[in-house]
């Protein structure tokens, strides 16, 4: 038997290798959610890159949600860097009664001010400030301040160089019957968005500056908004080159199939992280679970009421009339249309056809049954099946094994009855009764690796959405398909290039513009590191 099994495995590997060498006309891809729909490919500011929701690491009675937008921000891209779009409404939405429709929403609006309109750049500062020298030509007399002091504060002393400054408002609303009631508003309180990290001269202590953007709003609510390191990680270039993964990065010798050792090496990369060194705009909120559940109570994991469905949206005014006078302001419609939404990190990216992505983006989750065709027979699964010459066997449609991602049920909601499954809806479901997993035992593969604190029970920053999504599509939620190679599919990037924070706001602060760096295609990650792969990060070029 052992000989036979070994022989079969060798045959399988041979087949996989052969198939992987073929240039197959496949169209599906592993993908991040960066610019995945035609509409948002042209509208970066409203493009949701990732959506996260998880039980706070330091408080089991709180939930943290993170909405990231505006993908692949080059840290050095001055002079205006990466403000939030004041015309966009950013919202986080929560369903708490299993109907797929939002019952709670947290609304964010931004405003910009130009504090130094005569200055050519948005952020400027150095040391204690620079004054005009003795030979300063008239009419500027010597000693006149020219460059303000380095930026060390978001407001008050040390903020003079923060010319383009953004404030934002937070409003929390709950639906009572058919009426939305505001249960919290930040009102006139000044909440400042954290600017990009220009560099060490302008912002000599950026972590301290960024930390000033963490606001305790009372009532157990904390918020943060600003430019941060993009927490997502993926070999984007290889994925979009029609699954042209780097054979040399995988110990199996098969592109996109990890060995057991590689698979177990969380936080070790074997291929370049294409998102390394890029920033993203992030809105983070932490709030008591009691604000989110249907009855305002905290429930144990076995109780259906502990489970919520979450998603993020961006919306724009339905009409915008450009100004007819130079320097004028546009006229904006006061009613908004949803530009994009995101629940699970894979539905729109991996399953919905490009022709329907915009329709999906602008639709509401409760109406997702119209997209069931994509879900129950996903093209990506067929691509995987074809790309490996049949070696990656996939379940036969209809793919009911994918329903846990789009309906309420076990394992995320073990307490849900059939009647509480709700409609097919792309929501990131979170069982708030399951406490956060300690860092030491946190797994990048989340539930697939026995860590129920992670995706698809909510989603943490460290969850390897690419590998999880690919495997789920390959059928691993069905025990019959939770076998090699389906359960070893991956892109070779197992972790972020910089460490996340273990406390609110969890995201790593922004990469420096002055010292920005990325990973080149030639960056081979840690592939040369022999087993058991010491926990180290890939080099950056």
């Amino acid at each position: 038997m052992k000989t036979s099994a070994t022989s079969n495995r060798r045959s399988l590997l041979t087949l996989l290798c052969a198939a992987a060498c073929l240039a197959l006309p496949v169209s599906g891809v592993f993908a991040a959610s960066h610019r995945e729909a035609p509409l948002t490919a042209l509208d970066h500011k409203a493009d949701i890159t990732d959506w996260y929701a998880f039980v706070s690491y330091d408080n089991p009675n709180k939930v943290t949600m993170i909405l990231n937008t505006d993908p692949l921000l080059e840290p050095a891209n001055g002079p205006n860097y990466h403000p939030f779009d004041p015309e966009v409404v950013y919202e986080m939405k929560v369903d708490n009664n299993f109907d797929g429709d939002e019952d709670v929403k947290i609304v964010f609006r931004f405003q910009s001010e130009i504090r130094a309109p005569g200055v050519f750049t948005s952020f400027v500062g150095a040391g204690g400030g620079v004054s005009a020298p003795a030979n300063s030509p008239a009419p500027v007399p010597p000693g006149t301040p020219i460059v303000p002091p380095a930026i060390t504060a978001l407001d008050g002393p040390g903020s003079a160089g923060l010319s383009l400054r953004q404030t934002y408002t937070v409003t929390i609303q709950k639906k009572v019957g058919s009426v939305w009631q505001t249960v919290f508003s930040s009102g006139n309180r000044k909440l400042y968005a954290v600017p990009a990290n220009v560099g060490p001269r302008t912002m000599p202590d950026y972590p301290s500056l960024a930390a000033q953007g963490i606001y305790d709003l009372g009532g157990g609510i904390r918020v943060f908004a600003g430019t941060v390191d993009d927490p997502f990680y993926i070999d984007l270039g290889a994925a979009f080159d029609t699954l042209n993964f780097r054979a040399g990065a995988f110990a199996t010798g098969i592109p996109a199939v990890l060995s057991n050792d590689q698979d177990a090496a969380d936080d070790v990369n074997f291929a370049p992280d294409a998102v390394a060194g890029y920033n993203v705009n992030s809105i983070v909120v932490e709030l008591p679970t009691t604000l989110l559940t249907s009855d305002g109570q905290v429930h144990p994991a076995t109780d259906a009421k502990a489970v919520i469905g979450t998603y993020g949206t961006t919306s724009r005014p339905r009409i915008k009339a450009q100004p007819t006078t130079a320097g004028g302001k546009p006229s904006l419609s006061s009613n908004f249309v949803q530009i994009q939404r995101m629940g699970n990190p894979l539905i729109n990216e991996l399953l919905i056809g490009t022709g329907d992505k915009d329709k999906f983006s602008m639709s509401e989750p409760k109406n997702d049954s119209q997209f069931a065709g994509y879900l129950l027979d996903p093209l990506l699964a067929r691509v995987l099946n074809a790309a490996y010459g049949g070696a990656v066997a996939i379940p036969t449609p209809p793919r009911l094994d994918l329903l846990p991602l789009v309906t309420y049920g076990a394992p995320i909601c073990p307490g849900c009855t059939a009647a509480q499954a709700g409609p097919v809806a792309d929501l990131l479901r979170l069982n708030t009764g399951i406490p956060a997993t300690a860092k030491a035992i946190r797994k990048r593969l989340g539930v697939l690796d026995g860590d129920f604190g992670g995706f698809p029970n909510g989603r943490r920053l460290s969850d390897d959405a690419t590998d999880i999504a690919a495997r789920v599509v390959a059928g691993v939620l069905n025990p019959a398909f939770n076998v090699f190679p389906n359960n070893r599919i991956g892109d070779g990037v197992n972790g972020n290039d910089v460490a996340y924070q273990e406390t609110f706001p969890y995201v790593a602060f922004a990469n420096s513009g002055r010292n920005s760096r990325h990973q080149n295609p030639g960056t081979s990650g840690c592939v040369s590191t022999p087993p058991p792969f010491l926990p180290m990060l890939c080099p950056t070029d």
Binding site: S178, R318, I319, K320, A321, Q322, P323, T324, T325, P330, S331, L332, S333, S334, N335, F336, V337, Q338, M362, E364
Partner: protein
């Protein structure tokens, strides 16, 4: 169904001002004649600066919706226009209004394109009918394209249109999609109504034959009343003249 209500005698503010000096009966007759003319001229095209609009929303009854009146600038600052929306009536339930963008009043609400965009929003739960008066100006500077008013019926939650209509001009200088009606503000402006919609609400207008017949009837009635009055006036004038003539000059028979 969307159409000007032929049984309704109200006119919008603009026309009221224009005809305020007329004698009431003459105004009524003129209104009938104008309505009839509008039907006859185009069935669904109406040369008018004021019009009463009635939407048959039976098939969307119970839907939480939003009427979106938007006036977009097309010709710059020299040809600004206004649209006044008044007398909104429904057998459903009227909800809130939004008159915050290029909009004044309440009610009636007047939107202007002076800032580039004027917009008035009326939330409502649809019943079987919605009606309202529209009056508008028709200035056009000659530059660019005429300002354009559009009316859309939106889902109140998503602000996506509830209807797919044939008033779909995405490539126009002042684009519009899936409108129920549009007005291009220029001298002789016409209100154009959608004649086709899908999937939720078929937009109907009076059958051309019925409309024409009805219009002809209205025209005859109106015309007859005007003629009768003119005739009375003429007869009276003629009689008076003859009386004056007969008192001032005597012409012997046979001369």
């Amino acid at each position: 169904m969307i159409h000007p209500n032929p049984n309704h005698s109200r006119t919008a503010a603009g026309e009221r001002q224009a005809v305020v000096k007329r004698r009431p009966r003459t105004r009524f007759a003129a209104t009938l004649a104008a309505l009839a003319s509008a039907f006859i001229l185009g069935g669904i095209h109406h040369n008018a600066h004021a019009v009463l609009v009635n939407l048959d929303t039976t098939l969307l009854g119970g839907t939480s919706a939003r009427l979106d009146f938007a006036l977009l600038d097309g010709d710059g600052d020299l040809g600004n226009n206004t649209v006044t929306i008044s007398s909104i009536v429904t057998d459903g339930t009227l909800g809130g209004t939004d008159c915050s963008v290029g909009c004044t009043g309440g009610p009636p609400f007047t939107i202007s394109d002076a800032l580039g965009l004027g917009q008035f929003l009326q939330d409502l739960t649809l019943g079987t009918t919605v009606s309202f008066d529209l009056s508008f100006t028709t200035r056009f500077s000659g530059n660019g394209a005429p300002d354009r008013l559009s009316l859309l019926l939106l889902d109140a939650g998503s602000n996506l249109t509830l209807l797919d209509t044939n008033l779909d001009f995405s490539g126009d200088p002042v684009p519009v999609q899936d409108a129920l009606l549009i007005v291009d503000h220029a001298p002789g402006a016409q209100v154009r109504f959608a004649t086709v919609s899908s999937p939720a609400l078929p937009i109907a207008v009076p059958e051309p034959g019925a409309g024409a017949l009805f219009s002809l009837g209205l025209a005859l009635i109106g015309g007859q009343r005007i003629r009768r009055r003119h005739s009375c006036v003429s007869h009276r004038t003629e009689a008076a003249a003859q009386a004056r003539l007969s008192t001032s000059t005597h012409t012997p028979p046979g001369e």
